[in-house]
């Protein structure tokens, strides 16, 4: 039959033949044909191996096993093991007189038994452990392994019989016996204690010694070593027994040393033994000399030409680092070579190992090597390599300038593989390194000329050019290691323009470019027109974010030059500690190696998993921040807002107020609820449709739709409005809210009927100076529990010397009415002889019961 199947040329033909055969077999089964049963079963199995369904044959297997003849039984058991698995209930004849049949049964049981079957048949198997025939004994031993794996409770029953097996002479039984003992010890601590007793342990050591020293035995010889399998099993058992127990480990030291030194390593068998020996030495309790020996062996392995040997050596070295990092460092050069190996598995192992070896002293040369290799490595590897380099550089960089240099190299080479959190971190560092701003932006400028297709590089570059464009053009802060470079304003704008127009730039990049252009339009007033043209080109963009930014920025450039410069002032320094604290908190710090053990490394290396961008973005959806939440603290620090004393972050940097307060106040106009310390999240919450990470860093530019629109409207609408008359009787005394040498602001209060929490304030501005104030703007901010609404002012020109006044109505709602008084911060801006003047103040003298 097999021949006929093989003769089939096509799959269809084969199917036809198989179908015919199956039909014949089915017919034979139905007829209960005894003679050909085993032949049919064999055919069935072959068909099964080809992949066809053979469920109808399962009963046949059982019947075959139940029959008396040996051939039937043999094939029946085979069928049992192949076609069925442990989900079937099967009768097993362990009591048969024919030992081969018992053997078959044990074999089948060993391979497929289920927990119930195991429980039922355990006593039988236990008895068979002492059977006279070694063949049965060894099979019973392995069967017992399966049983205790399925039913760990039964392990204790097997301790004594297993101990007896250890004294065997027959290698097969010895091997299986040792395996059984090893597995019992893994399952039951009681057994572990039992076997650790010197009586047993010495016996084992003696056995190993005998095997090691035994003369040539042709039956067991493999590559000149007698029974390497036995060697290895014994070593494994010693490993289990010695782990965690100093006394036991002491017993083994001599023999381990002997094995380590005497075993020949020119053949795979010898190396296998050495490998196991090293593994054992590493796991048992410390013995300095042995460990050194072991690591030397590994070192020899590393330079072996055989790939397999190098692979296992690298594996072992990773475990060895926890034990003796110094020794492993000595082999660093070889390991570094392995990173460049042709074999992908070896490369991966070597890279992980190198990563674990990095510390402050060797980080510079290692990084240099790795970056050099990055250029020639192939694509699948680049991702891994980049991630490792970035994290290495971040953790161990000795100074900022080196960090920035390395990161720029990596970005230029493999920017597309760099994860977002990495270049975010880079920006944080850059912003903190204030003396390096000029250097950085120039380096970025140069880099972008050559590597425009590396997305992350472009993003970092345009952010920096936007922020520090003036430094770039004016050659500020040149370090003496730099080459001279002249960059004109239009060159800088060129770069950003290219970024916007480049075909591979995605939405994030383009959005960032827009913001950068806005900043540049303020820093380079001469290019303003050109910039405006570029911005306007995206007015009709299909992407909402780009369109929105384009229109808003265009509007700012055109009509609001007076606030533009303050809008895009230099960003305050991003707090590194908070940022990295947040990142570390949100990232699972796991070091995972292929061996599955999680290492707790002394030099504190924790590989960050890819930080979920969502963490950073979460900030954008928080509407009501709690001061203790670290996310919002970060932004509050970012914007230098006063954090309440309950906040967790000590010593946060209070960044310059000027720029940020403008934003607070700007947003406080006309947009309820206006809250002091939640304004940063307002910025972000109103730009919820922009989910790009850039929103955070660039969020200081007023991108929010709601706020901005109303702000612009208000600024546009300096239409003289007649002040609304409020004729609720003055139940409260009016106050002088603000007074300076040139300006007085008075508040008159009234309450609308029916709503005790709301207060209407009529603000009156009077000019005490002999000069006229033009472009008069009043802004106010209130704490969280208040809501503020400003109506348009009556005008924006304040005549001199009190010859007239501007009035404006404010509506305040106090959610803590009765418990807390009103309080307000004010900011008044106006032009005096075409000079901008700013007056700020805080009003604390509100009547208490408003």
């Amino acid at each position: 039959m097999i021949r006929s199947i093989r003769a089939c040329k096509t799959a269809a033909e084969e199917r036809a033949v198989v179908r015919k055969e199956c039909a014949a077999i089915r017919a034979a089964i139905n007829e209960n044909d005894q003679d050909y049963r085993h032949r049919n079963l064999a055919k069935l199995m072959f068909i099964h191996m080809l992949g066809y369904p053979t469920h109808f044959g399962q009963m046949e297997c059982l019947k075959s096993i139940a029959s008396a003849g040996f051939p039937e039984k043999r094939i029946g058991y085979l069928g049992l093991m192949l076609l069925l698995d442990e989900r079937q209930e099967v009768l097993i004849d362990l009591n048969h007189t024919n030992q081969y049949i018992v053997g078959l049964a044990l074999c089948a049981l060993g391979n497929i038994c289920s927990a119930e079957m195991a429980r039922d048949l355990a006593p039988e198997v236990e008895r068979l452990l002492q059977f006279r025939d070694p063949n049965i004994r060894k099979k019973a031993a392995l069967c017992s392994i399966r049983i205790i794996k399925k039913v760990p409770d039964l392990a204790e029953n097997f301790i004594n019989p297993a101990a007896a097996l250890l004294k065997e002479k027959h290698h097969g039984v010895l091997i299986t016996g040792i395996q059984l003992v090893t597995d019992i010890c893994k399952v039951s601590t009681e057994a572990l204690e039992f076997f650790r007793k010197p009586k047993c342990l010495d016996g084992l050591v003696k056995t190993l010694r005998d095997v090691v020293n035994s003369p040539y035995a042709p039956e067991y010889d493999i590559a000149g070593i007698t029974d390497p399998f036995l060697h290895i099993r014994l070593l494994k058992l010693l490993h289990v027994l010695g782990q965690g127990d100093a006394d036991a480990s002491d017993c083994m030291n001599d023999i381990l040393a002997q094995v380590a030194t005497k075993t020949e390593s020119n053949k795979n068998a010898g190396n296998a033994i050495l490998y196991e020996c090293v593994e054992t030495i590493m796991s048992i309790e410390d013995n300095g000399g042995l460990r050194v020996l072991a690591i030397n062996i590994l070192g020899r392995f590393l330079s072996n030409r055989d790939n397999n040997i190098r692979y296992v050596a690298l594996n072992m070295l990773m475990k060895a680092i926890t034990v003796d990092a110094q020794a492993v460092q000595r082999h660093r050069a070889t390991i570094l070579e392995c990173v460049k190996d042709l074999d992908a598995s070896i490369r991966k192992r070597a890279l992980e190992l190198v990563y674990l070896l990095v510390n402050e002293s060797n980080v510079k040369p290692l990084t240099k090597e790795l970056i050099d290799y990055l250029e020639i490595s192939d694509q699948e590897f680049k991702g891994d390599l980049t991630a490792k380099i970035c994290s290495m550089v971040e953790k161990f960089s000795p100074d900022k300038i080196w960090y920035i240099d390395q990161m720029l190299k990596v970005l230029s080479e493999a920017g597309n593989f760099v994860k977002d959190e990495v270049w975010h971190a880079l920006i944080v560092v850059i912003s903190n390194a204030s003396d390096l701003h000029g250097y950085t932006v120039r380096a970025l400028y140069r880099a972008v000329q050559t590597s425009i297709e590396q997305e992350s590089l472009v993003r970092v570059a345009i952010w920096c050019i936007g922020e520090y464009g003036d430094m770039l053009v004016n050659n500020v802060g040149v370090l003496n290691i730099e080459d001279p470079i002249t960059v004109t304003e239009s060159d800088a704008v060129d770069v950003v323009e290219i970024a916007i127009k480049h075909h591979s730039s995605d939405i994030t990049t383009k959005a960032m470019a827009m913001v950068a252009l806005l900043k540049l339009s303020s820093r380079f007033p001469s290019c303003s027109e050109r910039i405006r043209d570029i911005i306007v080109q995206n007015k009709g963009s299909l992407v909402l974010e780009l369109q929105q930014r384009s229109i808003e920025f265009n509007s700012i450039v055109e009509k609001h030059q007076n606030i533009r410069s303050t809008l895009v002032e230099r960003m305050p320094v991003l707090d590194e500690a908070t940022f990295s604290g947040r990142r570390a908190g949100s990232l699972p710090a796991t070091v995972s190696t292929s061996s599955g053990t999680s290492l707790n490394l002394p030099n504190g290396v924790a590989k960050p998993a890819a930080a979920p961008l969502v963490d950073l973005l979460d900030l954008s959806s928080d509407d009501a921040p709690v001061p203790s939440s670290s996310g919002n603290d970060f932004l509050q620090d970012l914007l230098g807002v006063d954090v309440s004393p309950a906040s967790v972050q000590p010593g946060t940097s209070q960044a310059p107020k000027a720029g940020t307060d403008v934003l607070l106040d700007l947003l406080s106009i006309g947009s309820p609820p206006v809250q002091n310390n939640s304004t940063p999240s307002d910025i972000l919450s109103s730009s919820q449709d922009n989910k790009s990470s850039v929103a955070i860093l660039d969020g200081l530019s007023p991108a929010p739709s709601g706020g901005a629109a109303s702000m612009i409207d208000l600024l546009d609408g300096f239409v003289p409005n007649s002040p609304k008359p409020e004729d609720n009787g003055p139940a409260y005394p009016s106050i002088v809210a603000f007074e300076s040498s040139s300006l007085i602001l008075t508040f008159n209060f009234s309450k609308p009927p029916g709503n005790p929490q709301t207060t209407l304030i009529q603000a009156t501005f009077t000019n005490l100076s002999p000069n006229v104030y033009t472009d008069f703007v009043f802004q106010a901010a209130v704490p969280k529990f208040l809501q503020l609404h400003l109506d348009p002012a009556s005008g924006n020109t304040l005549p001199a010397s009190g010859n007239g006044s501007i009035t404006q109505t404010l509506r305040v709602t106090n959610s803590q009415h009765g418990k807390k008084p009103l309080v307000m911060r004010t900011r008044i801006a106006y032009k005096l002889n075409n000079r901008d003047v700013l007056e700020e103040g805080q009003i604390n003298n509100f009547p208490r019961d408003l």
Partner: protein, 168 residues
Amino acid sequence: MIYALFADMAVADNGSRQGKVRLTKWYSPYTQKERSKVIRELSGVILTRGPKLCNFVEWRGYKVVYKRYASLYFCMCIDQEDNELEILEIIHHYVEILDRYFGSVCELDLIFNFHKAYYILDEILIAGELQESSKKTVARLIAAQDSLVETAKEQASSISNIIAQATK
């Protein structure tokens, strides 16, 4: 512990690069679907590896050790704890025994006498652990069992002869 073993051919008869599986043995319960999926995936990974690369592959948290003999790949899927070099030796052990038994074994032997290949495997491994390290012993056991089969067949045929004669 060894989870699975299979022997896979490098190039199928019709010339496609998809492996054809000659032998599989599973030491843990897997459904039919899982089995074929595993085989497909591993074949894809292993058959495409270059000749100079090391014989170990990491796959789904397990290690897979493979060795190539002529056109046949023998693959074993093992635990993290197991000694890869030893597994290579076990594979070699098995192949050598097959060699002795069939006398210069070739792939056709495995195809036409697959049940015998399995019997031999069962004498070497049970429940994913090594059973016997001596080739001689294994050969002896298999020979003994084979002779049992032979005698049983002879008996059966002689009885049926007698019956056939008697009922003619």
